[in-house]
Amino acid sequence: MREVAVIGLGMTKWGELWEKSLRTIFVEAALLALDDAGVEKIDSMYIGCMSSGLFIGQEHLASLLADYLSQVPTPSARVESACASGGLALRMGFIDVASGMSDVVLVGGVEKMTDVSGHEATYALGTAADQEYEGFHGITFPGLYALIARAHMEKYGTTREQLAMVAVKNHHNGSKNPLAQFPYEITVDSVLNSVMVADPLRILDCSPITDGAAAVVLCPVEMARKMKKPVVKIIGSGHATDSIALSSRKDITWLEATFQAAKKAYSMANKEPKDMHVIEVHDCFTIAEICVTEALGLVEKGKGGEAVELGVTSLGGKIPVNTSGGLKAKGHPVGATGVAQVVEIVKQLRGEAGERQVKGARVGMTQNMGGSGGSTLVHILERE
């Protein structure tokens, strides 16, 4: 296997981008990534997108986006793994370059979610759950994560305030990210007094509906070393699955797919949780970040809430989590999220993260998951 580097980053401002279509936001991010990498032609491309069919009535994205990026006849593939589609696209690109099949690969993620009503968006997202065992019984994603939250609170004594602190921390970080959908601070009180969605989760515990795209360019490390930018390598890639229905899991407070994917990534990278300097995780709901930090081995099982409260995962803490603002403040265009996490980590490792820079960060990690944890991608990156 060849070593793989990330040489180009592209992301535009996320939010309710009513004046732009999916192809436009994708092409804008992809062009930024190609410019950053200093390349014009690519050997192949992978697109992470969860549900363009339900959101905008468009499938066959791989060719459409290759065409609008002026890259046809370059091979292009769209991959889907619900909200982990972006992370999966990165893994496909990584495998392509590592195997020697391609040299320069564009990995993009995109989702256009605001062209439909909130009800339709909730339905589209709900297709990431097990329709026969969950969806048809009426539950939606906030409901599933509310069950996880309630169970975590019962089992480990995690408090309502600790859940709120995840959102407060991520908004604090997001306030330093000009590309974030909601780049401003919130307070524990405002979370606790926001509209109830699914007890105990309130609206400010939930990531938003977002339009957005992100892209990165990958190439072999030898090629990257000839360029002027700091070389950031992907040194670990882990991918794992779990039952997508919560009812099939032994313990709904434990994200087994995240644990398994992390195990593989740590092993490939020859690193341990304590080696990570900066981490982006999938905080689709506040409880998700708590469970993920536990499954990644960053904190002890059951101590995710306490870690947030003690500031361990804050910017300036021992293991800063979601310096970009996370899904909560940066936004969550589902297919783009996994790629944007890599954009943030590479910015951090290059030392280009501005006000939210983690000083001296050399090793970083991303964790991107689908549904309520039925699929997870973990990547570990290191600056040479």
Binding site: E16, W18, E19, T114, S117, G118, M196
Partner: protein
């Protein structure tokens, strides 16, 4: 100089509280009350419609204008709830107040800005010298689909203005309109309830057009927010007028006298015109007033008025708008409200 010679409003006496609607739908009443600054809305009785309310408001305008109705050369009714799809509201109104037969009439429709459209046309015909007086009414018995966010605001009310050249209550100093094709809210023929684009009705629709019209008219008139004593913006909920006001540089105290939505709801074509009638009720001679409407689809009309000395003698010739809003209220439960609004119908 042209301007307003008479104005009047009308509000039905029925009200329903936000809590009463939220209770039925299992919705979070505090978020509507705190988030959108809403408390209750007006509801028309079963025998009230846009035409009956237009007549009531016009009679109040005539009381203040003290003119002979036969001298009114044009009657315009702006509404998105004209009782007939074919057959004008304006003919009934014109007949009821005694302006027929030498009169031009038209019904206008542009979501919530049909009222100010009528004002623009009536004022323009007076300016052109085609008519001595022109009457414009904004009136609606708006419907919100059961359980939809709009059900908490869709209300009923009317405002009427008579424009002329003499004995003015307020001089019309400037007008300006700003419009694009922006489909944020609509109702197709044969549909009972309108549909809307959710959050799309905010930034690209309401805010873009209200700000566009307000900035346009201030530039045209070479005036700044501090030059106005009062400002009225369309009031689809309690929050939007204050937010757009602060974005434009207006202060709360300039907006508050014409801000009725917390107790009235959104009376659609009547909304900003009723804000103007309430503001004129408390104005002093020399006060400058800016009004900016908003209609989905989408556009805004803006007017600048300067209140004259005649306000002091005309003000109490008809009921003040706040008086109509605060007195003689009757609270409905959701069942009776549903019947009044024909959301449920008796089997026959």
């Amino acid at each position: 100089m042209e301007g307003i010679v008479g104005y009047g409003a009308y509000v039905p006496r029925n009200r329903i509280k936000v809590e009463e609607i939220a209770k039925v739908w299992g919705a979070d009443a505090p978020s509507y009350k705190k988030g959108l600054l809403l408390e209750e809305k007006s509801v028309p009785s079963p025998d009230q419609d846009t035409i009956t309310m237009a007549v009531e408001a016009s009679k109040n305008a005539l009381k203040r204008a003290q003119i002979n109705p036969t001298e009114i050369g044009a009657v315009y009714v702006g509404s998105e709830s004209h009782p007939y799809a074919v057959k004008p509201s304006g003919t009934v109104l014109a007949e009821a107040i005694g302006t027929t037969p030498e009169v031009h009439t038209a019904d206008l429709e542009f979501a919530c800005k049909a009222g100010t459209e009528g004002m623009f046309v009536a004022l323009s015909l007076v300016k052109a010298g085609e008519i001595k007086y022109g009457l414009a009414v904004g009136a609606d018995t708006s419907q919100g689909a059961p359980g939809d966010a709009l059900e908490y605001t869709a209300a009923a009310g009317a405002a009427a203005f008579i424009f002329g050249r003499e004995k003015l209550i307020a001089k019309a100093l400037e007008t300006y309109s700003y419009m694009t094709d922006t489909p944020d809210f609509w109702r197709r023929e044969y549909q009972f309830y309108p549909q809307h684009g959710g959050r799309f009705t905010g930034e690209p629709a309401y805010f873009k057009h209200v700000i566009g019209a307000a900035e346009g008219i201030m530039k045209k008139a070479r005036m700044k927010p501090k030059d106005f004593d009062y400002v009225i913006f369309h009031q689809p909920n309690g929050k939007f007028p204050f937010r757009v006001g602060s974005l434009l540089g207006f202060e709360k105290k300039q907006i508050e006298p014409g801000w009725l939505v917390n107790k009235l709801g959104n009376t659609y074509s009547g909304s900003s015109p009723m804000g103007l009638t309430a503001t004129l009720d408390i104005s002093k001679p020399g006060d400058k007033v800016l009004i900016v409407s908003y209609g989905s689809g989408a556009g805004s009309d803006a007017f600048i008025f300067e209140v004259t000395e005649r306000i002091d003698e005309a003000r109490d010739l008809a009921p003040r708008t706040r008086e109509l809003l605060d007195k003689n209220k009757r609270y409905l439960d959701y069942g009776v409200y549903a019947k009044f609004r024909q959301k449920i119908k008796k089997a026959v």
